[in-house]
């Protein structure tokens, strides 16, 4: 019976609910812009990890190397695009 209980999924569901509530606190509680954004960034990353690991089982398939590589690549492209756009459009703009 123990094997049949979807422990991971229930845990994942709990975590996602918790993370959503924490993220929601940014709107309901009164806090500074910097703190609010830090909370949002951290919970968003945690949420993405929960989804990938607990629901999409990223580490459990035989081609996990491919999956991790493509996620790394995606993070690389995303970070470059965002930081680069900020650099060209705001920080480095004369």
């Amino acid at each position: 019976m123990k094997e049949l209980f979807p422990k991971q999924h229930v845990m994942g569901f709990g975590f996602s609910l918790l993370l959503t509530i924490v993220a929601l606190s940014v709107v309901t509680l009164d806090m500074s812009y910097n703190i609010a954004f830090t909370i949002l960034l951290v919970t968003a990353l945690a949420q993405a990890t929960v989804q990938l690991v607990l629901f999409m089982h990223i580490g459990e398939s035989e081609d996990k190397k491919t999956l991790y590589t493509s996620i790394l690549y995606a993070v690389f492209v995303g970070v470059i695009t965002i930081i680069g756009s900020l650099l060209t459009m705001i920080w480095g703009y004369q």
Binding site: D63, F76, V77, I80, T81, G84, T88, M89, Y93, Q94
Partner: protein
Amino acid sequence: MSMEEIFHPMQEPMILMAAISIVVGAIVVVAGLTYFKKWGYFYKNWLSTVDHKKIGIMYIAVALLMLFRGGVDALLMRAQTAVPNNGLLDAQHYNEIFTTHGLVMILFMAMPFVIGLMNIVIPLQIGARDVAFPRLNAISFWLFAAGCGLLNLSFIVGGSPDAGWTAYFPLASTEFSPTVGNNYYSLALQLSGLGTLMTGVNFITTIIKMRAPGMKLMKMPMFTWSILITNVIIVFAFPVLTVALALMMLDRQFGTQFFTMANGGMDMLWANLFWVWGHPEVYIVILPAFGIFSEIIATFARKNLYGYKSMVMSMVVISLLSFLVWAHHFYTMGHGVMVNGVFSITTMAIAVPTGVKMFNWLLTMRHGKISFTTPMLYALGFIPIFTIGGVTGVMLAMASADYQYHNTMFLVAHFHYVLIPGTVFGVLAGYHFWWPKMFGFRLNEKLGKLGFWLIAISFNVTFFPLFILGLDGYARRMYTYSESTGYGPLNMLSFIGALGLAAGFLVIVYNIFYSWKNMPRNEKADVWDGRSLEWATHSPVPEYNFAVVPTVTQLDEFWFAKKEGRDITAGKFEKIHMPNNSAAPFWMSGFFFLAAFFAVFSAWIPAIISLLGVFGFMIARSFEKDHGRYISVEEIMETEKRLRGDK
């Protein structure tokens, strides 16, 4: 919008003529299909096919058609600027054709040609029976076709986009481009972009999951490698375009302020987003060409590809660097020295992996026994001409020097020197190389070579003068100039070259008809003495590709098996599982087309109704039970016997 506004482009005689010829052409096709009773055949075998080879052939057919559409635009531009103060086109018409020339050539000629070749070749090269998601593949094609049709419709109905293929804001905003032209831009590109994105997902999955047993990643043919990397770039670059186009549509049709100059909008953000997609896009069309050249050079030099690992590594590095250089497209738009410095360095860095590839190709040919076939001529022509493009690229990469070159004909000459020998020579080489695999007969070599020499020589005559004109200060996108500038003679020379290029492309198309009539049909499967798996199966390829899926132990297994006298396709036949055909992708894209067309004119109610049609097909698909079908052993045996000709 009144009818008069919608049909205003037809007041111009040239456009009216083009419109009439399109209508006449359509009537001829419809009448022909009816007369020869081919509607059923056409519908069953082409419109509703999910076969990767047929989809590939349709991609290439559209690409060739669009080559002529874009080519006519180019000829008109060169004719207009051939002499000073020419009145052939007015400024508006000139704006429209340089915009559509760019769009058509990049998105509706280069892209489908590349995607068409990858459709035909990749499953064969990796020993698969189809792509991972055959029906998705059909949707990709029909969405692309819908986008292509929509953009081509624009010049008759409502007016073409006229703000350049880059559609920079604020010029592309409703304030400065009040016609529906740029609505066409955002929606047509959106449709075909969605198709391309699906192709990306499809081919990554195919290459990762469906390789023949034993074919490790580092044992894949170089073309497959280049396509894998290309599709990775597609998947990461195209979403940026999707978002940018959606924002453009919102700005133009819903009054948002993303790219405006007031209310917190930022016009430069469009240029930024466009090139975040646009620069990787350049590598999306050039890397497959690198793959094609690698195959062709190894095949016709009769040698193993030199430096396999460094070839793969350099492509991976190029794909990463391609996301790091986009700001070099707007050095002069006001960011500081630090930003320009960073992007200068990353841009020049791309020359290093590209140089590695160049030397690898040269070293592959060293001591080789080269046979000068048409595909090999394109590969050989590519190396010196592309190098000129690369060297001028490094010149442009220097931000401070770029202030001199920016927006001049020097830039135009540079990117034609990269894209024509790179992409166009590449796809033409692949087209001549794999033609016998598609249709079972060769293209005539004499006509092929004539086409190559006409194109290679005329290309230089057309575009080399533009370097000089650019250095003399001739700005791009000027519809005319005065005689006192002295730009006349070189522009005339360039026009003469353009005529030669047109002649070259006509020879290539004539070659199809000539070879179809005259070339022998009993061509053997391995016409070129090839190296990779696609040459192991029959020409033309049977529906199931391989009767027995070959097992691979090394790179170029087929080549070594041939030398050792082994037959890698031998084995016991088993029934083969194949996907069913479906016309749903065609009709679904039809609804997409209608939705986009109505959206262009902001007719939201019919657009939403058409979108409901799209959703209807999605829902139907969710409830559809389609487990494919099996080809029986007897049927395979019969087909194999017929294709072998049992001599």
